[in-house]
Symmetry: C2
Subunit: 304 residues, 2 copies
Amino acid sequence: MKIAIVGAGALGLYYGAMLQRAGNDVRFLLRRDYQAIRKDGLSVTSPNGDFHLQAVQCALDPAELGPVDLVLVGLKTFANHRLIELVAPLMQDDTCVLTLQNGLGNEELLAKTFGAERVLGGIAFLCSNRGEPGTVHHMGQGRIRLGELSGGFSERATALARMFNQAQVPCEAVDDLRRARWEKLVWNIPFNGLSALTGKNVTELLRHEPSRREIIAIMGEVIAAGNAQDLNTPIEAEIFIEKMISATETMDGYRPSMMIDRLEGHPLELEAIYGVPLTRATACGVEMVRVRMLHALLELGERN
Amino acid sequence: MKIAIVGAGALGLYYGAMLQRAGNDVRFLLRRDYQAIRKDGLSVTSPNGDFHLQAVQCALDPAELGPVDLVLVGLKTFANHRLIELVAPLMQDDTCVLTLQNGLGNEELLAKTFGAERVLGGIAFLCSNRGEPGTVHHMGQGRIRLGELSGGFSERATALARMFNQAQVPCEAVDDLRRARWEKLVWNIPFNGLSALTGKNVTELLRHEPSRREIIAIMGEVIAAGNAQDLNTPIEAEIFIEKMISATETMDGYRPSMMIDRLEGHPLELEAIYGVPLTRATACGVEMVRVRMLHALLELGERN
């Protein structure tokens, strides 16, 4: 299977490297790391063992990489205005696209051009950062949950999950991608936004009792909005919040990607993580009061 | 009338200087500006005309200033743990205390030690900053609304208002101090907190449509909480919000005191402006959702 990685940041580089190491034909669309990877290959540091790939297929222009069987999208969503032009040259009749991007609206954007039947989405639970050009640091986790945009199980999704598992990436196919996306938002919306806004990591946020209460209240708003989206089965608020908080308590000092983006002066993924969810909540008659305020303040910070 | 100024920051220095210029016997309790004012006096720059007072009565120890007829308190509320010890040496049988501090709870703190019958409160609408030691910059406004802690009009309050007016400080006595305090909170709660949290001035906040909507929503929460406090007459939400927004639109680039405090690394007046109002709102069955979130995030920022 020929696989193209579009959006080769910390996420794209890591999963691409894992897939290539397992014997897949992986091609990276690169920008920042192009010269370094051409010259010295791609290095992954990881608690599971470091590894290095010397020969890496890569290009600056997607036309040089395609067509492929699978396009794996890891592009930051603030660059989504370029998504279609980057993916289009990689497509042939039976190519499918799996977006592992954050938030809502990415599958729909791809489906509008390429057709819903080509599109899968996945939620990545990955702690990784870019290092020097040509190096990605995997700090922990890496699990993926993927499914069809149109819902339900498919052979194709099951095959992709198998491919990831064979590459040492824990992966499961889910029958309700929408539910999986909203579940991820239950974490992303409070922790990404509050850490970016306040400059505090997840441990500092949880240790401060009033902030912890706000995080829990925000999670409650997101679950209420998600459950209004006609999911197969509703998210059970109390149990799920408890699970998210407990999981985060093990992530000592973790700095969410949006916090790092703000500290480094990059744009934030506000539309996918806040804008689209707020619109969909309102459309279902649910008002996420705290989330809307958080979104406003984050967006304000984007005005220089 | 002998007047002592306790808390001689931008507010205390300005009002004290205006009162002394009008012929009152004013004594300043100083700390930062003591040496400068002893040596060179006190200067006020103002759009209404600069002036300089060469001979200024001042001390570092309140025992050297008292007793007086009126104590005017301008102390930042985060220093309220020292308020009683600073005021006590200034008191004699008929001394009254007028606190011009921000937020709620200051009159009650004074009343607990000195008796409610001694205590008046005032709301100052003043744009002023400290300059070099011995200099205060008056940028605009300066109006005071004052009243009895126990409510109602009094001869004493009317006499104080007259004294301020004679000193070119527009001042009116009000019969419902509580309402006046809540009205001021309608401005202070959104603009002080949001500017401190985001580093944006009032003009930048209002120009960003989603933030403007949050400001209006926060004002609505504060008015609902105020109106639950058994005011003489309720605050009319729509009219009052419109008035606050319009007034703020004329304050081009104004940086609220809390924003400056945060930028300069000083503590914030969170308890008086957020903590006490939230407690009083909850006690009356009103939940200020956005205000509580704002308070949590501001308080989080106070943890190094």
